[in-house]
């Protein structure tokens, strides 16, 4: 926050999310690359951990509030905050204000953050005006899973498709029920594993029917869930975060594949 440059309108704070940080750092790097290509200066504010979504969804409001306060402080002053996840962005945009309904000072800060926070693909299309040029490249046939939080909390549906349409070498083949939950649901998938298994199996069936050789999405949790089930069932479709395809880095190992 001490850096005076942070309030410049061409500066973006990347909120990397805990899953991307731990499991798929390449998604974060791809996001940085895309934002820079769009002409923004990217900063990664220090001390990022978790936005508090697991606590909020599990009913631990006090803890969710505490983690939200941390995130609000870290992201103060940036013209834009970009998150490569619809569910983490959705937590900040839709739920932070609810968390502080009874704390006017924090409520203002939460609302302020809400106005500046964007899911990655939405930011690229609606704010940065991509695709101005071609993206990628990436060879293959992809199908896109609409992660629920991004879709229903933030209205993200067209943006990733628009971007993917500009990727050289890629064709998009929609699956049935692309807006049906994959059964991840954060802690849901380990609390109710059998129900989750049925849901993700249905999703994998739809992916398979599409004939696509890549599954793409904007939320790592869903992608890890679907990829894990595909791999257990021996389905050869490979899963990538949409940012990796857009940045042209989806030629490496997919989610759950060994580094070469």
């Amino acid at each position: 926050m001490s850096d005076s440059a942070v309030t410049r309108p061409d500066t973006v704070a990347l909120y990397v999310t805990c899953l991307v940080d731990l499991f798929r750092p390449g998604v974060g790097m791809a996001a940085v690359d895309l934002l820079e290509r769009a002409g923004y200066r990217v900063e990664v504010p220090d001390g990022q951990t978790c936005c508090g979504q697991p606590a909020w969804n599990s009913g631990d409001e006090a803890q969710a509030r505490e983690l939200a306060r941390r995130a609000i402080r870290q992201l103060q002053g940036y013209a834009h905050v970009v998150v490569p996840s619809g569910s983490c962005a959705g937590t900040m945009v839709c739920h932070y204000p609810t968390l502080f309904a009874d704390e006017p000072e924090w409520l203002d800060a939460a609302r302020d953050l809400t106005g500046r926070t964007w899911e990655l693909t939405r930011f690229l299309v609606d704010v940065a005006g991509l695709p101005a040029d071609s993206l990628g490249p990436c060879q293959g046939i992809a199908t896109y899973h609409d992660a629920c939080s991004g879709l229903r909390q933030l209205g993200i549906r067209e943006q990733p498709r628009k971007l993917l349409g500009a990727v050289q070498g890629l064709s998009l083949r929609e699956m049935e029920d692309t807006d049906t939950c994959c059964g991840f649901g954060g802690t849901f998938c380990v609390k109710y594993p059998e129900i989750s298994e049925r849901m993700v199996s249905n999703k994998v069936e739809r992916v398979r029917e599409s004939g696509a050789d890549m599954l793409l999405g904007g939320d790592l949790g869903c992608l890890m869930n679907i990829a894990g089930r595909m791999q257990r069932l021996g389905v050869p479709t490979r899963a990538y975060h949409v940012a990796e395809v857009l940045a042209g880095t989806a030629d490496g190992p997919a989610i759950g594949e060994k580094e070469r």
Binding site: C18, D21, L22, F23, P25, G26, G28, M29, V32, D46, Q48, T49, C50, G52, P54, W56, N57, S58, G59, D60, E61, E66, L67, R70, C148, S149, R152, Q153, D179, T180, C181, G183, F184, G185, G186, T187, F188, C189, V190, K191, P193, E194, I195, S196, E197, R198, V200, S201, N202, M224, N225, G228, R229, Q231, R232, P253, G256, E257, K258, E259
Partner: protein, 476 residues
């Protein structure tokens, strides 16, 4: 089969292992969704209609006491009687008393979820009455001695083979050897059996889709016409409804009807929509001699005053469960009580107590599809989350979740410690992933790895890579 919301987990597991049920569910799933999608197509702005529906229900609830009093006067003016029941036991008592008063032997019933809520059938049967469900789906599950598994399609979990078998047993004493039969044949057979029951019933019990305060009318919506035969033919008509069902005007009711059919079955209008006002009048060709309206509270006024008030907007269309991927994986019986799916996961804890329904608010991915189709815009995921928060405050949340959250929070509040532990965890997971890049069995994450591989992290963490990049880029 004694179902209970406390046994949600085992009931869900049993449902997932039942191939016949799974067959029935997978057929129902796409049917309901497609029909609604097509059904809302003929309305230019269905979203605006949903908003009007929400407003009508909110306004009705904001002056519920006034509308109920107006309803009571209007019903009386039309020659009917109104009975107030504070809870299920009182409602049963009132209805049983009325049946006795009518000297009833046989009672016909059209489908009513409030009837299920107050468990009226067993009470009447225990008093020696012959109770006959007349909605085809309800009739089927009455033969099977099962509760409904869906609020508008009570036998949606039954296959044609199962229904053929039930009819064979009950109508033919097994003479057909469980032969699979065609649907029209089954429907005609039920119709013949039920016709005799309609004609010989002494009392007809219906629910009510809406109650209209200004006219004292009850609105009944069916596709089989069974509610009309139920309330027109017997000597006495008893309608039982929750106090939340009241709307101020006929206009309001018709707007909601436009939403109800489309949301439920994709129909612009159900085959039969009836406005019933009082008993038979002097110049009516038919109708019951007596009309009684039993208004049930059973916790609704408490809901009205609390944080879950929005749930009272519900018009019982079933769209939330039709679009719920959890419901369509496990069916309605797994939820263990009258109301299944998303609306049931909110209502059941409120009716039966949060401590007796621990799983219901949690067995949901919060994907929000239910709220996106709700005709009166009930924020179901928010209400479920609110119930989770109440469970957490009241210490009902299971200890594993509490400890997990505590540990996660302790780390997430300390960035240095967090970086250290996630760094270590990342290295460990990469090690476990070995040459495959994923893990087949992971201690403490058995729920995940029972059916999914767990992806090993891709290289060192993002912040490490970012730092490296920043250092490399810094001008010397």
């Amino acid at each position: 089969m004694q179902l209970s919301p406390e046994r949600f987990r085992s009931q869900a597991q049993a449902a997932l292992r039942d191939p016949t049920l799974q067959q029935a569910l997978s057929r129902a799933r796409s049917g309901f969704i497609d029909k609604r999608r097509k059904g809302i197509h003929d309305i230019a702005d269905f979203e605006a209609l949903r908003e009007r529906g929400r407003r009508i229900r909110d306004l009705a609830l904001s002056q519920l006491d006034h509308h109920l009093e107006q309803l009571e006067s209007a019903v009386r003016a039309a020659g009917g009687q109104v009975h107030w029941a504070e809870n299920d036991a009182q409602a049963r008592e009132i209805i049983l008393g009325l049946c006795r008063q009518a000297d009833a032997q046989r009672v016909t019933k059209s489908k009513s979820m409030v009837g299920e809520e107050i468990a009226i059938n067993p009470a009447l049967e225990a008093a020696g009455l012959d109770v006959v469900e007349t909605d085809l789906g309800e009739y089927i599950i009455q033969l099977a001695q099962e509760p409904p598994s869906h609020i508008i399609a009570p036998a949606v979990h039954k296959t044609r083979q199962q229904i053929s078998e039930l009819f064979d047993t009950h109508h033919h004493q097994g003479a057909l050897k469980a032969r699979l039969r065609e649907i029209p044949e089954l429907v005609n057979e039920a119709r013949e059996v039920l016709r005799d029951k309609f004609l010989s019933a002494d009392v007809g019990i219906t629910g009510a889709n809406f109650l209209v305060a200004e006219t004292g009318s009850i609105v009944l919506v069916t596709n089989e016409g069974n509610a009309d035969l139920t309330h027109t033919l017997p000597r006495m008509h008893i309608a039982v409804a929750g106090i939340d069902k009241v709307v101020p005007t006929l206009d309001d009711a018709t707007t909601l009807l436009r939403l109800l059919g489309r949301s439920a079955t994709g129909q612009a209008m159900s085959c039969y929509t009836t406005f019933v006002t009082g008993p038979r009048r002097a110049d009516d060709p038919d109708g019951p001699g007596e009309f009684h309206l039993v208004l049930l509270d059973n916790g609704r006024s408490r809901m009205l005053a609390g944080p879950y008030r929005e749930m009272l907007r519900c018009i019982r269309c079933g769209a939330c469960m039709n679009h719920c991927p959890v419901y369509s994986a496990i069916g309605g019986h797994a939820y263990g009580w009258v109301y299944p799916g998303p609306m049931g996961s909110v209502l059941t804890p409120l009716f039966r107590g949060l401590e007796n329904t621990r799983d219901l608010p949690n067995a949901c991915t919060l994907n929000g599809r239910c709220a996106s189709v709700c005709p009166v815009k009930i924020p179901l995921p928010d209400l479920l989350r609110q119930l989770r928060a109440e469970q957490f405050r009241r210490n009902i949340t299971d200890s594993r979740t509490r400890w997990g959250l505590r540990l996660w929070g302790a780390l997430a509040r300390r960035p240095a410690l967090y970086a250290l532990s996630t760094g270590l965890a990342g290295r460990l997971l990469r090690l476990l992933g070995g040459k495959r890049g994923r893990i087949r069995r992971l201690p403490l994450a058995g729920g995940w790895t029972a059916s999914r591989d767990f992806p090993a992290p891709q290289g060192p963490g993002f912040r490490q890579q970012w730092k490296k990049r920043q250092t490399e880029r810094k001008p010397v």
